[in-house]
Subunit: 415 residues, 2 copies
């Protein structure tokens, strides 16, 4: 096993930029939504590149696109890399595309170096990770991991009434059930989509897992009344209660790093300058990589709400509308990422994924690891999303090392 093989960062960047031309927006981003003709064009380009280096291509019933490079023993479970080729309507050039192109660059480097691996190596472009055109997000990887029913996913319609099933057929990517079992391990390289690596001046994020999260909707009802004639001690001000909740939730988020907590949406009624707000609708979300700690955060949140409601004589309606458990990644996969970063001399740090990825779905069934690289300002889901060729190359190198360390294991053991 060669630990000196270097991936080609320039080739990676050129391929990323060429792929980004498919669905390019005037703002410098990409609009290449799931199962559109542009999605198909990108899939075909990726497929042609993979075939050039000797891979076979296949799709499964939800359209996940697999490139497979044979190993010495093709009966062994593969080592898999992947991410997604579909984008947000005003997405960037790197979100998802980086992980797929990084996987391609690993295949190219293995091919160029004539490196034989014990088990097969695959790169997969998961169908509809973004969930922009068809909900939910992470659709292809969730079906693959058995978290979402195939029929249910096929039936989902977009705003024009076209179903996933119809569109898969239309663009000709509706394949057959996967003849191989799940992989032995899955690695995904991705831009961080957050500001931490850049702020800490680190090149590689060694991702320990993804946060669990829960979302709530709250309605607080008080009493609308005249702002001039209602004394301060005779008020039932729903906005005052909401403000206390916003501040308490923030304190709770700060109390349990690296968790976070946010009120993103708020609506007051009657929303008139000289009327005390009689009711407020607000959302709240709490995230933490440890579900037990998140449960504590939720409990403290509910206590804070009770206090605000009592202090302002409000009536509360509260619903939890999302509950996603944390997804810790695999210790061995994490170690491989760490080891590569150290050996290659890249500055690195442990980091938790604040957002969901295909890797989260995969982590429910196979040992999984992720590699983060910085993106400028932490900005993503935005046409100005950007990352440097050097950082992208470093992440790809770590991906290569991690995959090779995994794919040669059987060979090393048996040889």
């Amino acid at each position: 096993m060669s630990t000196t093989t270097l991936i080609d960062g320039d080739r990676l960047w050129r391929s990323l930029m060429e792929l980004a031309r498919i669905g390019a927006t005037p703002g410098g981003g990409v609009n290449r939504q799931a199962l559109t003709d542009l999605d198909k064009e990108a899939r075909d380009l990726f497929s042609s590149w993979c075939r050039e280096v000797g891979c076979s291509m296949r799709t499964d019933p939800i359209g996940n696109l697999f490139a497979r490079r044979s190993g010495r023993d093709d009966t062994l479970p593969a080592i898999m890399m992947g991410s997604h080729i579909d984008s947000q309507p005003t997405g960037g050039k790197f979100d998802g595309a980086y992980g797929v192109m990084a996987g391609l660059e690993v295949l190219r480097s293995l091919h160029e170096g004539d490196i034989a691996t014990a088990c097969p190596v695959e790169v997969v472009a998961w169908t509809n990770e973004e969930g922009a055109r068809f909900a939910p997000s992470m659709m292809g990887s969730s079906v693959y991991a058995g978290l979402l029913g195939l029929e249910q996913a096929l039936a989902v319609q977009d705003e024009e009434g076209k179903s996933v099933g119809q569109e898969l057929t239309r663009i000709g990517v509706r394949g057959v059930p996967d003849p191989h079992g799940p992989p032995a391990a899955y690695f995904e390289a991705h831009i961080e989509q957050g500001p931490i690596l850049e702020a800490m001046d680190k090149t590689i994020g060694i991702v320990s897992g993804a946060q669990g999260q829960c979302w709530f909707q709250l309605t607080l009802k008080g009493r609308p009344s005249h702002a001039g004639t209602t004394p301060m001690n005779l008020r039932s001000d729903a906005l005052l209660g909401a403000a206390a909740i916003v501040m308490e939730l923030n304190r709770i988020g700060r109390e349990f790093p690296p968790g976070c907590a946010t009120v993103g949406r708020i609506q007051a009624a009657p929303n008139s300058p000289n009327v005390i707000p009689g009711s407020v609708y607000m959302t709240a979300e709490i995230r933490h990589p440890d579900d037990d700690i998140r449960a504590i955060m939720e409990q403290k949140f509910k206590q804070a709400i009770d206090v605000a409601v009592a202090e302002n004589s409000l009536i509360l309606d509260m619903r939890k509308v999302l509950e996603q458990p944390a997804a810790p990644f695999n210790a061995e996969c994490i170690d491989k990422v760490r080891l590569s970063a150290e050996r290659r001399g890249y500055s690195s740090m442990d980091i938790v994924s604040g957002a969901a990825h295909d890797a989260v779905a995969l982590s429910r069934i196979v040992p999984t690891g992720m590699i983060f690289v910085p993106c400028a300002g932490g900005i993503s889901h935005n046409e100005i999303e950007s990352a440097t060729p050097e950082d992208l190359a470093a992440g790809c190198q770590v991906l290569f090392d991690s995959v090779l360390a995994s794919a040669c294991k059987a060979e090393t053991a048996g040889s």
Copy 2:
């Protein structure tokens, strides 16, 4: 001078209810907006009732409608009562109408009792107090008091482009400049439009004056970012800053009773559940009967804003959009109200007017007093606005006593 004359509470109530039929809404309220045909109908009804008791009627150039009862010496300045006959679009039966009908009941009682006063006694229905159809509010009384230019007021248009001047002419109430000087004193009876008298179980509010107030518009700009991937200590959350300001403003309002402070309107952007709010627009208002104390409240408010802005790395845009000085009422007028309530055995308390009234405009030029009576739940500007016949009668009795004490002064001094 008779101190035993009782006004007729039943007659007052019946007249109020008859007036309320003009513009009556299905919800039990009144829609009788300024200078509509319904306004004219109400003015005519009022005028006919006044004439029945020997008054002469006149209007001035802004349509203020005066009923005048002669005194022994008509060269003396009159004692004036009044309020307004126009209503909110979904107004109640008592807001404004009570003060005019109470004044009418005083005239009727003087007439019935064949009581001669030294100076004339007048009741005025001020044009367009509500400012609902034509802005600003308190239009007629403000022109009368020289606070608003006549030409400026005549030129104001409603939503259909009709001007005040045109409508005054149309309904035939555009009169000539007042041949008499300002009154010697002005008294206005009004429902409290707040919850204090009811909460304290008092019948008469001895109004010391009206609060000064100021209104602000604030825009706070932070940085919109992903709620899951942005650590708590790298946020610039405009809603968190706004929440701190809401809470601090409430504390400031509580610190300086009987002042008050309110955030009535708030808008966050992008207002999405999983995005940290990048910007917030909010209004704020501060009221206090003492302008010096209000200045302190404003200063503390600005300090609180500065802290919230700094703590959250926000950019602030703040404008003061309204500044109205406090309007203390006249000590002698206040004493007359207090004395009557005591002599008549009505429970009473000192109170500050939280809202503006025609009396506020009059107070800038003549000695002024107001009499409050409770309204159910403090509710006003609402079709369900209500007050009891007993409370309304008590307020009218106090009005009668106060006016008579003022109108007979010259006689007592000279006789």
